[in-house]
Symmetry: D2
Subunit: 264 residues, 4 copies
Amino acid sequence: MILSQAGDQALLVDRDGKQFILKLDPTKELQTHRGVLRHQDLIGIPWGSSVTSHTGVKYLLFQPTLRDLLLHIKRSSQIIFPKDLGYILLRLSVRPGARVLEAGTGSGALTCALAWSVGPEGHVYSYDRRADMQDLARRNLERIGLLDRVTLRLADISEGIEETDIPSLFLDLPHPEDYLKQAHAALRNGGVLGAILPTSNQVSRFLGALPAHHFGHPEVCELLLRFYKPVAERLRPADRMVAHTGYLIFASSVSPQEPISDAG
Amino acid sequence: MILSQAGDQALLVDRDGKQFILKLDPTKELQTHRGVLRHQDLIGIPWGSSVTSHTGVKYLLFQPTLRDLLLHIKRSSQIIFPKDLGYILLRLSVRPGARVLEAGTGSGALTCALAWSVGPEGHVYSYDRRADMQDLARRNLERIGLLDRVTLRLADISEGIEETDIPSLFLDLPHPEDYLKQAHAALRNGGVLGAILPTSNQVSRFLGALPAHHFGHPEVCELLLRFYKPVAERLRPADRMVAHTGYLIFASSVSPQEPISDAG
Amino acid sequence: MILSQAGDQALLVDRDGKQFILKLDPTKELQTHRGVLRHQDLIGIPWGSSVTSHTGVKYLLFQPTLRDLLLHIKRSSQIIFPKDLGYILLRLSVRPGARVLEAGTGSGALTCALAWSVGPEGHVYSYDRRADMQDLARRNLERIGLLDRVTLRLADISEGIEETDIPSLFLDLPHPEDYLKQAHAALRNGGVLGAILPTSNQVSRFLGALPAHHFGHPEVCELLLRFYKPVAERLRPADRMVAHTGYLIFASSVSPQEPISDAG
Amino acid sequence: MILSQAGDQALLVDRDGKQFILKLDPTKELQTHRGVLRHQDLIGIPWGSSVTSHTGVKYLLFQPTLRDLLLHIKRSSQIIFPKDLGYILLRLSVRPGARVLEAGTGSGALTCALAWSVGPEGHVYSYDRRADMQDLARRNLERIGLLDRVTLRLADISEGIEETDIPSLFLDLPHPEDYLKQAHAALRNGGVLGAILPTSNQVSRFLGALPAHHFGHPEVCELLLRFYKPVAERLRPADRMVAHTGYLIFASSVSPQEPISDAG
């Protein structure tokens, strides 16, 4: 029987599915619209227990999954959503012990997912030129306990990337085509480049720039995640859904001597 | 400069995007509709190089990503697709060093993804009652080099699951509601249960059985992956797509003493 | 040059796409968050003109399309959306001069679309057992000028349908399988039956009841409509969308003597 | 009881859903993979009857719906699909008695849908500069019995459109932005312009050209139609679906004196 401990990340879910993520701290309280919960009452009990607010509303207490943690990180910019992160991790072949690089860091959702997946033996290098974003990402990584696997670099990758021989690299920047030279230099030969872009115009520009910078085998896709109301007798999709987060683009580093056709 | 070696998994892609996965073996040849390639010519060269068939057709040589490996495993049953696998891994919080359990093994696509993600310090327990499926999965795991992280059990989980205190467990079986008692016993308190089911009738039956077996916080969703033709000047979705693989359902193990409402 | 006239339906659109539908009445004013517009200033000017609120905000004045009219009807229940209506009209083969029947009337969105499409030579029969819904639909039909093509019957179709030899019939009721006998009696031989249902459980029940009531050739589908932000340089899907309105089911009336398999 | 007659369009459906459209002609036979059916045996029987091929395979006989007719027209070019046609008809406010215009005619699927919807009192003007396409469309219209409602013009609309005061106009051409001047001149003030385009690059170019040609209130959308296997006990989406036909764009003609912002 695993018990919750002070310092753990915890997820509270009410019967309507409303969720709260909190770091258990015996000196704190959680204020909800349906009453107050003292952290102290959430500590030292089995995960999966129910707890009750002072107004009598019940909540279930769980350890958050990676999906939960990613959805609830503090953000001051658009984050990459779990539906996209899962596919990015597969596509970049992120594995325990791997080295992986991203720019920009942003609020750090992808940084967290990468750091989680490379494990204590792997490492993530993350570039951003904005100190405020980097600070936010640092706090998010620290809260989840993943900061020691990440090197946060306050730098513009247009001035170069320090690392080389990186097996996979992700660009979450408005004009990723401006950094293809640097990305190619940092990547291992044959390595995988990924990017996420919200508009089709950006995708066209990025695709158009890939061949000249020795990237081949391009792929463009988008993922749609549709939730259902989880009621056995009245199963149906939710009324509304996220219709768009971004287009995902992947390509592979090829030898500079290879001519590449437009179609890749 | 990383060179391909005998024994490596390799991906060949032609300019139309047609792909081949092969294990490099200097004694073998790859027959394609557009000519023959000797493995020997693919060994000892930089990943990202282009190679040419005896008819002069060019291919790019890459190390396959996890997505590529999963799409190309040998199968004698429907496999779980990469679009779903990525989300399942996040939702089950699979991490380096973790223990995770699945039933049934099937062709082993999820087994491979789990084994990849838990790393050499983690472990996967996979149950199937069919020896032929287990043999196929074993060969798939061996080819990717992940077999040592997996315990394949030839058993029907209706007779019980040996392991306990498992943080996450996935059921890929036609009637997962028949094994909820065993799943609850194997899972750590608060642990995450996942399942994939092709029909809405199955989802309704499974959802209906969860509360009585002490599973709460249910989620039902589906993922749609849409590819685009990756041409800068004529960007557009592919004409056709996979419309359905399965509904994904997740729930969490709760304390047996907790009454749970139907809505979770 | 066509000028707007008192009594016309009009559509006002501001530069952010916000829309208002109104019936032009020289004695009235339109209050918006961005100022007041006197109807009098909207009357007697060319459609496609811009008009200005008292605070200087510009609006374009158009004749509403059928889509606009349907989206803005007064409603006290879920209406059938334009994305579904267009396909329903094709699937029911509604044509100028046709007779068509529906139950229930609800707020009258489908009633309006049917009445529009059958034209002055056709006729729509619409059943509802709730007088309040029928009154609402009557007002909606009257406002659009289509009431004379519709017979509104305040009756429960479980007690029978007066009309016979109807080429197509649509059921927008929670338990359409309860009225299949009446629907078959009202339909012309070979006629088309349609229904819309929000949950998969309802679809399964309806499909299951069709063969015994002599309906064959079943089709089940759903339509997803995704809007894009219409900006040339930053083309991208809207952030959110309607994920579900209902499943559409169609089947055809077959001769009572024909045995029909489950698969149709 | 309505009986099939020589000269009628007929739809045959087997129990797996395979369909045939044919014009009943007592001198002909239908060859299928599962046997031969003499038209003579299909004439003079009630719609909704079952008929049997010489090998004993059963088919149901129906009058085709508009959807069926549109899906089965002879084509030598990509046709507009029913999912899109339904929405286009609503969005163009096509109604019995209306005049509507399109270019190009292509194989005539939209032409048929427009001619069906305007009824015998309305009229469709359809331009194409290719005589072979026009001939194909003429045959398709004739077969469905709609040719008398359509004026087919063999002309390039870059040289002007004869008609004026048209309430709605649809462009199914690769570069619709090249004909916006002609479209504006043909449309009634406030009239609706529609277009369908396969690539996002084309949509961006078209959107970008609209304001200078006095079109406002732009809308861009796409429709996805997902079919389900219609089996009550195993309800699930079909495995594959059409992922893309085209983006739909609509805009309204505004007064030339109005300045229009890019955002419309």
